[in-house]
Symmetry: C2
Subunit: 425 residues, 2 copies
Amino acid sequence: MVSTLPEIGFCGLGAMGGGMARHLVKSGFCVKGYDLYSPLIDRLVAAGGKAAASPADAATNVDFLILMVVNNVQADAVLFDPKRGAVPALRDNGVIILCSTTPPKYLFELRAHLDVVRPDVRLLDCPVSGGSIRAANGELSIFSAGADEDFKCSQAVLEALAGPLYRIPGGISMGSVAKMCHQHQAATNIIMASEAMGLAAVAGLNTMAVYEQICKSNGRSWMFENRGPHMLANDWLTVHSAVSIILKDNTIVTNHAKEVGFPLVLENTAEQLYITGTHAGFTKEDDAGLVRLYLPSDKKDLVGQLTKSVTTGAGDADIAVETIIDLFAGVHLASARECMSFAKHVGMDLIVLEDIINKGAGASAMFEIAVPQMISSGTLSLKSVKEAVEVRDKLELAIRKAEKLHQPVPMAAAALQQIYYDMAA
Amino acid sequence: MVSTLPEIGFCGLGAMGGGMARHLVKSGFCVKGYDLYSPLIDRLVAAGGKAAASPADAATNVDFLILMVVNNVQADAVLFDPKRGAVPALRDNGVIILCSTTPPKYLFELRAHLDVVRPDVRLLDCPVSGGSIRAANGELSIFSAGADEDFKCSQAVLEALAGPLYRIPGGISMGSVAKMCHQHQAATNIIMASEAMGLAAVAGLNTMAVYEQICKSNGRSWMFENRGPHMLANDWLTVHSAVSIILKDNTIVTNHAKEVGFPLVLENTAEQLYITGTHAGFTKEDDAGLVRLYLPSDKKDLVGQLTKSVTTGAGDADIAVETIIDLFAGVHLASARECMSFAKHVGMDLIVLEDIINKGAGASAMFEIAVPQMISSGTLSLKSVKEAVEVRDKLELAIRKAEKLHQPVPMAAAALQQIYYDMAA
């Protein structure tokens, strides 16, 4: 049986791209894949795809060229390498679908480069979110920006890959802006999972029971629910998402904010903690392993914390599961405010972003509670959030309890200061 | 009388460069100066210098070309502009003395560029520190790196400009590394001056009396002594050093640290506060005006705080001058540790750096007390500093008092967390 669906070239067959390409094959598309690491090509072929010998080969005789490489440097190499690059091989009016996470301004640089060498080639800005499992199941969040006619002709391909398929107005770069704003929440929430579980462990709480209770509380986040089990398994070497990946995505956010002169205290604090993890040698390990930054040097795992109570911690700090919930809630509240203020500054539609985050990996209970109140007030201030004073006061108390153990909670400490700034303004 | 001293071309006659060039004239050198803003050239001429019509003109028939432009982008323009650039005009084996603060790696880029177009031209890496008054008096700290023979032939010129003239080993870029490490202390201490005085004012203390007592205490720093009077005068528009300058220098530190994968939590927190100041519209004003970030919106100056006590603050927070001292001491201690650990990581000689900072604008009482203990322990850990536990405990208490007023102290909060990390490691 010959497929009647469009033919697709696919460059970048890693944890995300490999699953996406195989899912396209499963969905009936003819997919020709390329990766620098040839076993990844073999895996696509075993799933029914075709092997491409180079990016140029992947781009030959296809309707769409999808890029899921690590960053914009790799994208440039795939597209413009003088000998093996994809762009010269593309059909007239061929469509490039860039799914990699890149700085928003890269889309303009890429378009300008194409305009010189191949002005006929079309470009869609389509970063994704959701992780490798949703990638393999065709259930990614996709943030699609670009010309309407380019989107329409690509819609069948994007729908095959997407759970929620967002159409972001404003032209290319705004898809990457949406991803960047979402990534702000992902980055603060990932490290916060380590900070809070580190405190729970050091306080001697039953970390498994804490995990379960947090997931039902106002301290919950998508990232904590997702990373918690890896932490509790003390399994840092099975890499679901490496420290290097969240650091790379985080750096896109902090660099963009610096370029537009916007302060992001929490996001930069998170970035420094990822760099602390890198400096400690964790770069290629799973980001759940960052919990080790918060554990004493003689105890670099969470094992052995499974039998104790969740209501009475060690020492006189009186730490209980409620303390951990309060720490999460305070940071998620401050982070939600920082994210939405930044999003407004960079011209992102706040209602669309709220929906993206609530349905995506950046979700948290406090974001869901606070953001509607912030948006409807028109100011985005925490003063418009009726729970804010209580969350702030509980965060103060939780930090004080961590202090009694001399246990670092840098995200919580930074969040409290930002809440003071915001509520005084 | 004809001068027998070498002739000097000078590009960049602003707050720093103008004073340096005029001081060279006063010292007997023949100086030909250029600036984009011609009144600055007129001022040099009025002081006995000569006017150059372009960077190329400034470089013609001189023995040394000194650059004191704002950054590496301006340095490239001055040196390599195709029509007016200085490099083609330089004599055989001419010497460029780069006094601007640039990223350390720029020195390598500049040398590589020179090697292509003028390999005979010699380059000294000579960033300075000390501010415009010391510049005009020939009393700058100069961090000189480069080949010994280039240094020797330039020594008379450098000595005319310098108070302490440091010879930094390791070749070009290491002068800029020394300046970068010094700037770490400058950047954390400048914003800390605002944070602490903001708390004093909000607590209702007599800010003038607080200033005087801090300057005699273990909370003192060169930057606070220098910036305090501007703050107390509520005079942000007389610009001694603009927010844009410290933000630029700070960014050199944070970018370099990211490139080498080293965490600098305090320096990045400081940078976010400078960006907060930029976002508030203070970019071109004096950095002492950042104290306004810490004042309530109905009270954007320190006037009216001169008649109250230094021992009893407002409300029930029990804030006194000792609280402010403790806040300073805690941040300076954590910052000293961060600075020295970074310096070690980038290969800076720690003994030389200690001397530079103690004699420079990055000086503080806690740096002076703690760093000898850190160095002699070999670990640089705060556990080697006998005052550390007391400073930490007092910092905790000071932060708690600020909390009662809901007054943000983000540097102090970040510092305390870093002290916990360091002392647990």
